[in-house]
């Protein structure tokens, strides 16, 4: 009994726990370790059995049955606690008025046939649909079919009941206490989980989708007739934009900056090998050769005339002011460029 007091026993789970045992020094071999563990385990198992076999048991065909107490170790639940069902509108009303349910007999006296019949269902007692002759009353409206009225009345009553039922289910769904077998299709509520209901598409999103769909014609929806309230076709994606290549005041420099940025990136990447001696020597040699060739060509004047000469734009731009003096003030960049190139050509001619 002394040893049992040391153990913590959760009898509902048939679990025993010895919180005092420590290994003074781990056994060297695996077999010894396992043996010691099993020895200690046997003690605990014996402690559980001590209690288990002393419980009052009832004999059964298969063996003695023992009633276990509920577990004491607190373990988390699997699912949240079921919520109580909210009262229906009728139940609320009945409680306020103090109306109580009372049992009715299953069978009832059927007056037309003079027999006892079931209260509800097929072949029921006092079925108003089975009455073949409806006697006219003073209050009857002429031209109204009493049989048709009876039928529509019944239909309306059934519809009203269905509406009430759905309203009550909706109310229950709001609290989260819907019966497990019922699913509301409109909200698509999961059975047990707490997932959010899928969102409805907004008017704006629908409009966008319609715009996209409209653009699926050969003209991209450009010449289609629009319905009243329809949005213009949406253009998805970017328009490509090119910056002007020729330098000017605003955008031209932007283009230059852009390319410079890219070049800088590329050059800085290989900056550690920026000076290649072999390449430099090669280049120097090639340049020297070219110069010599050029001078050789210059000595013969006929060949130089045929060669097209290109001049860098910078020189041209410096003389563009002169060119603009006789052209319009609001001339475009391209015009200026062309004029400057002309100027350059003429200048060259002068130099000759």
């Amino acid at each position: 009994m002394e040893t049992q007091k040391q153990f913590e026993i959760d009898f509902g789970n048939l679990m025993a726990f010895n919180p005092h045992h420590t290994f003074p020094s781990l056994p060297s071999s695996r077999e010894d370790l396992v043996k010691e563990c099993l020895e200690k385990g046997t003690e605990l198992v014996q402690a559980i059995a001590q209690k288990l076999f002393n419980l009052p048991s009832t004999e059964d065909v298969d063996g003695p049955l023992v009633k276990l107490p509920p577990p004491t170790t607190r373990l988390p639940r699997e699912k949240p606690l079921p919520k109580p069902k909210p009262p229906t509108k009728w139940e609320v009303f009945a409680k306020a008025r103090g109306i109580k349910n009372r049992k009715k007999d299953k069978i009832e006296y059927d007056e037309p046939s003079g027999t006892w019949k079931r209260r509800y269902g097929y072949d029921r007692a006092n079925d108003e649909e089975n009455i073949p002759i409806i006697e006219a009353k003073m209050t009857d409206v002429p031209g109204e079919d009493p049989f048709a009225k009876r039928r529509t009345d019944k239909k309306n009553r059934v519809e009203k009941q269905e509406k009430n039922r759905q309203q009550n289910l909706k109310q229950a769904a709001k609290v989260g206490a819907l019966p497990s077998h019922v699913q509301l299709a409109a909200t698509g509520l999961p059975i047990t989980g707490t997932q959010a209901a899928p969102k409805k598409a907004t008017k704006d999103e629908l409009g966008n989708v319609a715009g996209l769909a409209a653009s699926a014609t050969a003209s991209g929806g450009k010449f289609d007739k629009k319905l009243p309230g329809e949005k213009p076709a949406q253009h998805k994606g970017k328009y490509r934009k090119f910056l002007p290549v020729v330098e000017g005041k605003g955008l031209g420099s932007q283009e230059r900056e852009q390319t410079e940025k890219v070049l800088n990136k590329l050059i800085s990447k290989n900056s550690h090998e920026i000076f290649n001696v072999d390449k430099a020597v090669n280049m120097y040699n090639v340049k020297k050769e070219k110069k010599r060739k050029y001078q050789k060509d210059k000595s013969s004047p006929t060949s130089s005339k045929l060669k097209p000469k290109t001049k860098p734009y910078k020189k041209g731009s410096s003389s563009s002011k002169k060119g603009s003096s006789f052209s319009n003030k609001g001339s475009s960049y391209s015009k200026k460029g062309s004029s400057s190139s002309n100027k350059g050509a003429s200048k060259k001619g002068k130099a000759k």
């Binding site: 099993l38 009633k67 988390p76 639940r77 077998h181």
Partner: protein, 315 residues
């Protein structure tokens, strides 16, 4: 207006009712699955856990790419599987260079991950390697005894957590009545060091001791392994509070045909089916029929049993 959807068959309705939240829960189902890569050891561990938990476990055999329980976003497909199979404990095996023979045991609340423990499996010995009397082999689904040994389970936070998870995994169904003949297995968990637990599955041999209580003897039937705790994630506190809720009230079972009266006390109604006198089967009167046949034979003059008859006459 909206549509109310209800199951069309009784079977479907019962299946849904089974999955619905209950006032008193009796047990959790276990989902066993693995990641993209597993080792031979891990495969064996997962199958044997499945064998030990047969009846309340589901095992997946395909690779699962997107499951990384400890990472955010890595639990979505796991939670989906838990929802589908209606399991709330999972055992996920994965094998990598960084974490070889990795086992993640976790629990779920409301189909969302509740807590996680990651352990490495070492010194694994499968069931087949143990030799024992086959009479000791436990039955499927029998309630095990569980023994936890060692200070570590109380002092070290990780082991304390592991103990709770292991208890939840191994304890089986929560029951009210236990058949003492069915006590045939035990799990022994020993904290060897601050992060290592030795787990062994044993059979029980009940020996006579002269008293009402038999002497218990443990015999290893496997598997046995060392669990090395790696990472663990405790549950969110607010979630824990919600998950620990219990009710005092027990679910009331509807008692039919019994009512209470102020004067007469408890009244029971008994229904007897109508006695159908016309259809009552009469006792077999084969003897009389036999005699008739014999007489008929005599009349026809063919007396095969003539000698017998003669004898009767003579006496």
């Amino acid at each position: 207006m909206f549509e109310v959807r209800t199951p069309r068959t009784g079977k479907a309705r019962r299946a849904l009712e089974k999955r619905a939240p209950k006032l008193v829960e009796t047990g959790k189902k276990t989902l066993i699955l693995h990641g993209t890569k597993t080792s031979g050891v891990l495969n064996a561990v997962l199958t044997e856990i499945y064998h030990m938990k047969k009846g309340s476990a589901v095992k997946f055999s395909r690779k699962n790419e997107n499951i990384k329980p400890f990472e955010s976003g890595g639990e979505t497909s796991l939670e989906f599987f838990l929802n589908r199979t209606d399991c709330s404990i999972f055992v996920f095996g994965s094998h990598s260079k960084k974490r070889p023979d990795n086992l993640v045991i976790g629990r779920a609340y409301d189909h969302h991950i509740y807590d996680l423990v990651e352990i490495g499996v070492e010194n694994f010995k499968p069931m087949e390697s143990f030799k024992y009397d086959k009479k000791l082999a436990p039955q499927i689904g029998s309630k095990p005894l569980i023994a936890f040994i060692g200070e570590g389970f109380e002092n070290v936070e990780e082991l304390k957590h592991l103990k709770e998870v292991l208890l939840d995994l191994l304890r089986g169904e929560v029951i009210e009545n236990l058949n003492l003949v069915g006590v045939d297995r035990a799990y022994v968990c020993t904290a060897i060091s601050s992060n290592r637990v030795f787990l062994s599955h044993c059979g029980l041999r009940l020996k006579k001791s002269g008293t009402k209580v038999p002497r218990m003897e443990l015999e290893e039937i496997g598997p046995s392994m060392d669990l090395v705790v790696r990472r663990h994630r405790l549950p969110n506190e607010s979630l824990q509070k919600e998950a620990m809720k219990t009710t005092r009230e027990k679910p009331k079972k509807k008692v039919k045909n019994v009512s209470k009266d102020a004067i007469e006390g408890k009244i029971g109604k008994i229904y007897m089916p109508d006695q159908k006198v016309g259809d009552v089967a009469l006792p077999n009167i084969a003897k009389g029929v036999k005699r008739e046949r014999r007489e008929a034979k005599l009349k026809n003059g063919e007396n095969k049993h003539a000698s017998k008859k003669l004898k009767e006459n003579s006496t």
